[in-house]
Amino acid sequence: MDVGWSSADQAFRQEVREFTQAKLPAEIRDKVIAGRPLERSDHMQWQDILAEKGWIAGFWPSKFGGHDWTPAQSYIFQEETTYAGAPWLLPFGVNYVGPVIYTYGSEAQKARHLPGIVSNEVFWCQGYSEPNAGSDLAQLSTRADRDGDAYVVNGSKIWTSMAHWADWIFALVRTDSQVKPQRGISFLLIDLRTPGITVRPIRSIEGAHHLNQVFFDNVRVPVENLVGEENAGWGYAKFLLGHERVLSAEIGKGKRMLDRLRSVASAQGRSDDPGYLERLNQLETDLLALEWTTLRMLDAVMDGSAPGFEASVLKLRGSTIVQRIAEYTVDTLGPAALSFDPAGLEQQVNDPNAELYRNMGIVSEFLFQRAPTIWGGSNEIQRNIIAKHALGLG
C-alpha cells in the first residue's frame, strides 16, 4: 500500500531517516524507546542537533528561519524521527508561540523571539489552563492590569508542562472583565525570571515531574510583550489550538510502540499466543486506519479542501490508540510489570537491580498515556466539536 508520495517526498524521507540514524545519540534513543523520562538536557541535546541542521522549524516560512516545508514534509519528518526513537520535538516554541508571533506579532517581537526558537536557545512553555478554566478556557481569570508601560499580572496557571525547565511562558490573561469572556483575553509573552513568579511542581501518576502550577504575584510585564491587539488574544489562541491538534496524530510513535510490544511478547514467550496475536492485529489495524485517515486529511489540507474538523478526528483516534498500545504492552509483560519505583525512575537508577527495573519505563509510559485524552482539548470536547461542526448537531 502506498499513497503515492512524490519523488521529492521520498527523497526527503530518505534524508530524514539517514540523518536521524546518524545523529540521534544512542543513549537518548534508548531512553525514548524504553519509556524512561527524559531530562531537559536530553531534549536540548537532540534539538540542538536539529537546530544545527536547520530542522527545528522546517515548516516555518524561510524568512523566519524555516524551510517552507509542505504539510507532507512535516508529516514525514515527524513520522521518521519519532519512529526512530527521537524525543518528541517540544512544540511550545516551534509549533505554538512561534507561528502566533510571526502571524500576529510586531516586527520587534519577531526579531526578538523567533531566532531563539529556531536556534533552540529559548525554552518556552504554555500558560493557558487555570484551576477553574480547563475545557472552558474562556473563563480564565489570571488578570493583567495596565499600569504605565507595563501590565501587572496576578493569578495562576496550572498543568503547565515543563515550566520548571522553561525560560519564557506565553500566557492568556484577562485584560477586560466587563465584556463577553472571549473578548477580554490578551496574549502575553512573559519572561519567567521576572520577579513575582513562582513555579510549584505537581507530581503525576506515572511518578515523574513535568506538570507545574505557575503563580503570578504582581508580575510586571512590559507592554511591548503583548502580542497583537489587547483583548484579541482568544483569536490567536484558537489559531494556535489548530496547530496543536494537527500534531496529535501519532503514527511514528504508534509504530515504534508496536515494535516494542512485539519484542516484549517475544521476550515473554508469547509471540505465538493466539490471544496476543488477535490483540496485536487489532492494534495494527487501528493504527493503519489512523495512518490513512491522516494521509487523506493531509492531502485535503494541501489542496485547500480540508473541512476544518480533521484535527479533531485525528486527536480522538491518535490519543486512544497510543493509550491502548501502551496498556496492552504492560499486560503482555504480566508479572514482570510489577516492579515500579518512581524515585528510581527519576534518578535513572540502572544497577544493581537493572534487570528488575528494565520494564519500569513501559509501565510509567502506560500511566502517562492516560493524559493525551485529557489535554489539548479533551476527547469529550473533540466529540462535541465533531458533533457540532462536522455533523451539524447542536
Binding site: 473563563q139 499466543d273 510489577l338 524515585a343 537491580n353 492516560r370 489535554w375 479533551s378
Partner: protein, 352 residues
Amino acid sequence: MKITLNEEQSILAQSVARFVDDRRDAVSWRPADRGLDPEIWREVAALGWLGAGVGEAAGGFGGGRAMSVVMEGAGAGIRYAEPLSQVFVALAILESADAENPYLSEILSGEAFACGLIADMGTGIEAIGSGDDCRISGAFKAVPYFEQVDHLVLALPDLICVLDAQAAGIDTQTYPALDGATRADLSLDNVQVKSVAVLAKGESASVALNRGRVFHAAAVTAEASGLAAKLFEDTLAYVKQRTQFGRPIGEFQAVQHRLADMFVALEEIRSLSLATARAAEDGVPADRRLSQAVVGVIDRALHIAREAIQLHGGVGMTEDLPMGAGLRRLKVLQLMPAGAQTHRRTLTGRAT
C-alpha cells in the same frame, strides 16, 4: 436466597468503612511507603478484623462472606487491603488443613504475620521426599511485604505446610512495586520442611488448596469492588461539583452516560464479588465461574479507574487524588500471579 448481609456482617461492614474513611485523606489510599506499617497492622489486629476470615473452631467469627465484607471495606484504602488479603488466604488454608494448629492464634492476634501462597502463584513448585526430609523447590514471584512475613503458608496439591520465611534455601530479591508495597521474588531451593510444620497431605491438602484458591479469588474481587466503588463515588461527587461552561460537568449528557455506564459496571462488580464470596462461604470447588468472576470484576474495575481519571481532567493525573493509585493497584490485581490474567489464561486453556 442468602444475598443480604446478616446483622453482624452489616455492623462489620460499617465499622471497616468508617475506619478506612477516617483515614481517607491522610494515609489510606496512599502507597504504603514500601514496608508494612507495624502500627497499622497492630490496629487492624486489635480491631479483630482478621477473625472475619475463619470460623469459631479456628478462633474467629466468620468465613468467606465476612472476609469479603472486610476486604470490600478495606479496598477503599489500598494500604490496608494488600496485607489483609494475603493473611486471609493464609488463614483459610490453615483452618482447612487443621483448625487447631498453633499458627492460627498467633496470626489472628497479630503477633505473627503470614502470607498464603497457593500453587497457582508459583512456577516449577516441587515437594520432594516425605516425613522429616521433605524439601520444596520452585519460585514465587511478587510476594508482598515479604520482609515482614514470619510464616509462609504453602498450599500445594498434596501438601499443606508452613515455612519459616527465614529458612535456609529461600533466596529473595526485593523491590518496590506498582501498588506501593514492597514485593519479593522468591526462589526456593530444597527448603527443608519441619515435620511439625506439615499440616495436611493427600486429599485434605487438596481440599485446603481449593479453599485457598477460592478465598484468594473472593479477596481479590471484594477488594476491587471496594476500590471501584470509591473511584466511582469520588468521580460522581466531582462531576456534580466541577463547573465548566457555566454548569456542573455532570449536567452534560455525554458525562452522564459515562457515569451511568460506570454505575452499571459497579453493580456487576458487586454481583460477581458476591458470587465469589458465596463460593468461599459454601466451600465449593474452584471452577470456571470463579475464574470468570475474577476476570469480570477486574476488567470492569479497570474501566472505572480509567474513566475516573478521564472525567477528573488534569487533576485526575495527579497524586493529589486516589485515581492513579487505584489504577496502579487494579493493574497489580490483574497482573500478579494468580490474579485476573492467570484466571483468564485458565479460562482460555492456555498454559501460563
